[in-house]
């Protein structure tokens, strides 16, 4: 069931305390809290307050989740689950984060599919309010991750370049990844004293 023993590493949280039931339950809770958006922020809060991960672990998982194809929030859930309990941990977090929404979505689909004129107006305005709240939630995750990034050489410049490329200029993710990660690799190449 469980993953092979991980190599001893400085910043791995101890996976002993986390059970699959914990993961399932907590990530279903994350989904409920994330109505309207901001799921990564809720995952961060859930994992950090239980000491399942450090701020650096989260920043690392979030970044890797951007680089794998597919819906990012579910990718992030899979990565956190895999990190804590291996393959079956990933299954637990993904099922947990999807289940509440699947039930709600199927219910709404059966009711609203085929309604003339799309969704009713009160539903649409409720949706806008939820999106404004989600914005604030996203900021609470962005700020700590940026603090981690700010400690790196050139971190601020590269983060702002990414923001400008994707957010302001609406460039494709892949060329931005190539340029930013390329520049980062040059900045952080191992010095002569670090070479074996």
């Amino acid at each position: 069931m469980s993953a092979p023993a991980p190599p001893p590493a400085p910043h791995l949280p101890s996976p002993v305390a986390v059970t699959h039931t914990d993961l399932l339950r907590v990530f279903a809770g994350v989904a409920m809290a994330g109505i309207g958006g901001g799921l990564p922020a809720h995952m961060r809060r859930a994992a950090l307050e239980r000491a399942w991960m450090t701020e650096l672990d989260f920043a690392e998982s979030f970044t890797l989740a951007q680089l794998t194809p597919g819906p990012n929030a579910v990718n992030l859930a899979a990565m956190i689950g895999a990190r804590l309990r291996g393959w079956t941990g990933a299954l637990a977090t993904v099922v947990g984060v999807l289940t509440p929404g699947l039930i709600a979505m199927l219910g709404m689909t059966v009711v609203t599919l085929g309604l003339p004129g799309g969704l009713p107006a009160p539903l649409q305005s409720g949706l806008r309010g939820a999106a404004c709240a989600a914005l604030a939630v996203m900021l609470t995750a962005a700020l700590p991750v940026l603090r981690v990034v700010g400690d790196l050489r050139g971190g601020w410049v590269l983060a702002l370049a990414t923001f400008a490329g994707i957010g302001l200029l609406r460039l494709n993710l892949l060329p931005v990844v190539a340029v930013v990660v390329g520049a980062g690799l040059i900045l952080h190449r191992p010095g002569p004293q670090e070479r074996p």
Partner: protein
């Protein structure tokens, strides 16, 4: 016109492809091209209302894909769309996380991590910008956002 008779293997394959080609968020333009234009499984009205529904559902926004799957092929279609869109990419992500863990003893890893992290920070900030474009359209919206931010930071 929608065609409710699409078979589930067809739906599974189509949605698997749509999941694997969406990088950095859902590729809505491609979803529209394939589901509305090419397959005629859903109308553009279903595309819009499903997307809006996805925003208010608990969990990932792209649960809209389940809505589209249901519209295309009923309950089996919904199951196939969900499994196809989320399954393979989640599997890839778990594999990537485990591979990363296996690499932790590798000497070059810290420098690669330092090169990758600013990307994550920038993407998060860009996400805040995209959300603010679509949501804060009036004073009420700004007040809701500020109130939630205050409550979260105060906690």
């Amino acid at each position: 016109m929608t065609d409710p008779g699409a078979s589930w293997p067809e739906i599974l394959l189509t949605f698997t492809r749509l999941g694997l080609i969406s990088f950095g968020g859902a590729n809505l333009a491609e979803i529209e091209r394939v589901l509305v234009g090419q397959r005629h499984w859903i109308t553009s009205e279903t595309l819009a209302s499903g997307f809006a529904l996805g925003q208010i559902m608990p969990g990932p926004n792209m649960l809209a894909m389940t809505h589209y799957g249901f519209a295309a092929g009923g309950w089996a279609g919904a199951a196939a769309a969900t499994l196809g869109f989320y399954g393979p990419t989640a599997l890839l992500s778990a594999a990537a996380a485990l591979a990363w863990r296996g690499l932790l003893r590798w000497k070059r890893l810290p420098s690669i991590r330092s090169a990758l992290l600013p990307l994550g920070g920038g993407v998060l900030l860009a996400g805040v910008l995209v959300l603010s474009r679509g949501s804060v359209q009036n004073v009420t919206g700004a007040v809701i956002g500020a109130a939630v931010l205050g409550a979260l930071i105060g906690l």
